[in-house]
């Protein structure tokens, strides 16, 4: 069945089952790397992407429900906030294995877009649904604070 999808401004027409989770279409058809399979149940945040500026967990969202523009980390160069986060995560070396990081950055963007000076507590609250196993949390918080400073 034909499904139409917009990813980072590009329109894709796909012949897939409409119930297919958005994640697999992003990774295998739209050639997106950033959104990752972590749990398939919306419990870890590794697959987070933006749908019209709202965070969605692409591992559980059917592709047919992704009506609007899907934005992923790949578009960071054309997004002021994602670009600041990209630089800040490098500056703070806020990555160990990094498998969870794209989801963290996507979630952080939604915070920074509405709050120019988030507190540590607000950052923690925003990222509560995202798991990191390497224990990079403290650096992730610092990187988001650094990006906020750059954007302010």
């Amino acid at each position: 069945m034909a499904v139409q999808l917009t990813v980072n401004g590009q329109i894709l027409k796909l012949d897939v089952d409409p119930s297919t989770p958005l994640l697999y279409v992003l990774r295998n058809d739209a050639m997106i790397n950033s959104a990752k399979y972590g749990c398939g149940a919306g419990q870890c945040g590794a697959c987070a992407v933006l749908l019209d500026d709202q965070v969605v967990l692409s591992c559980t969202l059917p592709v047919s429900s992704a009506k609007g523009n899907v934005k992923t980390l790949e578009s960071y160069e054309t997004d002021r906030t994602l670009s600041a986060l990209n630089k800040a995560f490098i500056a703070e070396q806020a990555v160990q294995c990094g498998y969870c990081i794209s989801g963290m950055m996507i979630r952080a963007k939604t915070l920074l877009d509405k709050n120019k000076h988030p507190s540590v507590q607000q950052i923690k609250d925003t990222l509560q649904g995202h798991l990191c196993r390497c224990g990079t949390h403290t650096r992730i918080i610092k990187a988001i604070q650094r990006a906020a400073q750059e954007l302010a």
Partner: protein
């Protein structure tokens, strides 16, 4: 040839010169009978060109057997080579570890990559530099001592120059690394917090993981694992699945069952169908619970080793303390489930894998697949963090078994979340019994540490047996390798069971279990996490009994000056005041604790202080602060070192407060994060890490150093806050609540 060598050696032996010369002819004997002759991984890979190549285009190709999984080793190795070769790091091209191409450095584990791989590359690069200088000296007719190097250009005082790229030919590095060259004392890139080379791709959505690899014509596969260990297929309806959309093949070999589809979601759907519609003969042979397993552990047959024994006459003991500590099974629980891609082409089968050891993995793949060794290639491709042996090796075999059935088709297999939780080998449960005595002056006069555990390594690569999961379920099944313990001084289950403290009488005994109902293998730190928890808990309780400040009490029993330094350093960082007093405020209990360990007694020194706040109603612990001071000798990349110590502290907070793999007789009771909650942002402590950099000391492994002392400092802080100790991990809210209730009743 064999014969004449044999005769010749006998001749020398008779003449009394045999020992040295005989060994020179039989290098394999060296590793068994004599101390290592060369630094680190050079012993197994002595040739210079197995490590380094200089290309005419100005690139330096580096081959390494230690692999990246987010710990920053690739960057650190590049820094080492750039420093000794006096080149810009940008010239270095790192080749992914590949069997048949890269040096065989075994497994990337045990915080050994800098101590083994790093030192080998450092000597290789230093040797290369000296060879190039000698060659330049004769070409430029200038003594070596007068030559200078600037990014690979060798310069004379008169202004002449010649580059590495024009000097190096194919032959120059075809020689053993002498390892006699003096290593550089003044560093350029070593000691700098150079930004990691793997990070930019990871924060820009570029392909960075094996999970991201895409190949033309690639098919997606999933494995349908049994509901529980050792279950066997009774019946499976393959015909129905073969008709499902996109399904290309269903592969069954004994009780190994996999499905291949054009699209990933189709493979997942077919797997779901097969999971529901396959009948299994259950083994129902797991222990009914963790507590029953703890009871069984002490009754099962064990291999007993006295790891350390010291006997001396001492003052009479005035106080005796004893306690039993336990640690549950802990999962690696990587965020990204394991993944591999395999391709069978022209009779050769290749796997792209995030295994920690390409060569050990290949050893078991050769056994399982029954192919000649030269027909199997393993190429490293980074995956999600692993923290020891998770499903990475197993999924490589899964992919190869499927790819072998479908020649010419690249096969991508990723485990689903429940596959990873149910089938990864866990870190073993442990029981530790401790007893220690104090004399009148508060000196520890005797110390006994007795532990029961499964092995902490069942990795592939052993001579006997096959340690890859799917191999045990094939029509002609393989059996795992015999159980063994990693030998001391590094140790396995007994890692860090021998304390660094100096006691006149000491006995450490390891009871290694043969029976292994739950699959276990290496989890970051092996036995050290639980042993340090027990040792450092005991030290605190003894300090309390002796009425001595816990920091002073530790210093009193330590001779190693670097150990003493990290402890006094962390005390200063945390503004430690003598014997922390617990406090109560607004329904919360506050406590502070300290702990120390030198990882494996031969790697990084780490001392920690923890501050905790406990909700006296719910029993929930919040670790508010974790301070750590760490000494890893010469720090190759100080920020990378700090990142590892910080990460270890946060991970150990999660292990210590929350984690235990639930199971019952008919299976592992975890399939999602709901059943295995780990630390989330709300539970992240404020982490403060300081490095003591010792430029004249050798670089030590650091990656696993903070896990044990971090746990023990939290446990000591909790004991301080509660006024009583919890001896069983994890320090869950339920246990804390029960302890508070108990003390109320006692009062």
């Amino acid at each position: 040839m064999m014969n004449s060598t044999h005769i010749a050696r006998r001749h020398f032996l008779k003449s009394g010169l045999g020992l040295a010369i005989g060994f020179a002819w039989a290098p394999h004997l060296l590793s068994q009978s004599a101390p290592a002759a060369l630094p680190g991984s050079l012993n197994a890979n002595p040739k210079l060109d197995s490590w380094l190549h200089i290309q005419p285009d100005g690139k330096v190709v580096v081959l390494a057997g230690k692999v990246e999984f987010g710990q920053g080793i690739t960057t650190a190795l590049m820094q080492i080579v750039a420093d000794e070769l006096e080149i810009d790091m940008k010239r270095i091209v790192m080749i992914p570890t590949t069997t048949g191409v890269s040096p065989d450095e075994g497994v990337t584990s045990g915080s050994q990559s800098i101590e083994y791989g790093g030192i080998a590359l450092r000597y290789a690069a230093a040797d290369a530099r000296e060879l190039l200088l000698e060659r330049a000296s004769s070409t430029l007719k200038t003594p070596v001592a007068e030559l200078k190097i600037r990014d690979g250009e060798i310069l004379t005082p008169a202004g002449q120059s010649i580059s590495y790229w024009s000097l190096a030919d194919g032959e120059l590095f075809q020689r053993p690394v002498s390892a006699k060259v003096t290593l550089k004392k003044r560093h350029t890139t070593i000691g700098q917090s150079i930004q990691r080379v793997d990070i930019p791709a990871k924060v820009s959505g570029k392909p960075a993981y094996v999970q991201d690899m895409k190949m033309p014509g690639m098919l997606h596969a999933r494995v349908i694992r049994p509901p529980a260990p050792r279950a066997a297929i009774m019946s499976v309806d393959i015909g129905v699945v073969e008709k499902m959309p996109g399904v290309v093949a269903v592969i069954q070999n004994g009780s190994f069952l996999a499905v291949v589809a054009s699209r990933e979601e189709q493979a997942i759907q077919a797997r779901e169908f097969l999971k529901k519609n396959t009948k299994w003969k259950m083994a129902d042979d797991l222990p009914p619970s963790l507590s029953s397993w703890f009871q069984q552990m002490k009754q099962k047959p064990t291999v007993d080793t006295t790891v350390s024994l010291k006997q001396n006459a001492v003052n009479p003991a005035t106080k005796v303390l004893s306690a039993q500590f336990t640690k549950p099974f802990i999962a690696h629980a990587a965020i990204g489930p394991s993944c591999a891609i395999a391709l069978m082409k022209d009779g050769t089968i290749t796997a792209w894998t995030h295994s920690q050891g390409m060569y050990p993995l290949k050893t078991d793949l050769v056994k399982t697949l029954g192919l000649p060794a030269e027909k199997i290639i393993c190429i490293h491709q980074e995956g999600s963090g692993m923290y020891g042996q998770n499903g990475a090796d197993d999924v490589a075999l899964d992919a190869m078994l499927i790819a072998r059935a479908l020649p010419g088709k690249p096969i991508r297999v990723q485990w689903m979340r429940d596959d990873e939780f149910k089938w990864e080998p866990y870190g073993s449960a442990m029981i530790i019994n401790m007893q220690a005595s104090l004399d009148q002056e508060g000196n520890i006069v005797d110390w006994t540490h007795e532990l029961w555990s499964n092995t902490h390594s069942t990795r592939p690569g052993e001579q006997i047996g096959d340690n890859l999961l799917a191999s045990w379920y094939l029509e002609k099944p393989f059996t795992p390798s015999p159980v063994k313990n990693n030998p001391q001084p590094a140790g396995g289950s007994d890692r860090n069971a021998v304390p660094l403290y100096v006691f006149p009488n000491q006995k450490v005994v390891n009871h290694l279990l043969n029976d292994m109902p739950l699959r276990v293998s290496a989890l970051r730190t092996l036995g050290a996490y639980a042993n340090i928890f027990a040792v450092e808990s005991m030290m605190d309780d003894l300090a309390k009994a002796a009425k001595i400040d816990p920091i002073q009490f530790r210093l009193k029993h330590l001779q190693d000056s670097r150990a003493r330094d990290v402890i006094t350093h962390v005390a200063k960082m945390a503004a430690w005041q003598k014997t922390p007093s617990a406090s109560k405020k607004n329904g919360s209990l506050y406590g502070r604790g300290v702990a120390f360990a030198k990882y494996k007694n031969m790697s990084v020194y780490v001392a920690c202080v923890a501050d905790v706040e406990i909700n006296s109603q719910t029993g929930k612990i919040v670790v508010s602060n974790l301070y750590a001071a760490a000494d890893g000798g010469l720090a190759i990349n100080p920020d990378g070192f700090k990142n590892q110590i910080e990460g270890g502290l946060v991970q150990t907070t999660s292990w210590t407060l929350f984690e235990s793999v639930p199971f019952k007789r008919d299976g592992i009771e975890v399939s999602s994060w709901s059943e295995y909650p780990i630390l989330r942002f709300s539970d992240v402590p404020n982490v403060h890490v300081e490095i003591i950099n010792r430029e004249n000391e050798k670089s030590l492994g650091v990656g696993e150093g903070s896990q044990g002392p971090g746990c023990a400092a939290i446990a000591n802080a909790v004991a301080n806050a509660l006024g009583q100790r919890i001896f069983d991990l994890p320090l869950s809210a339920d246990r804390v609540k029960a302890a508070i209730e108990q003390s109320k009743q006692a009062a």
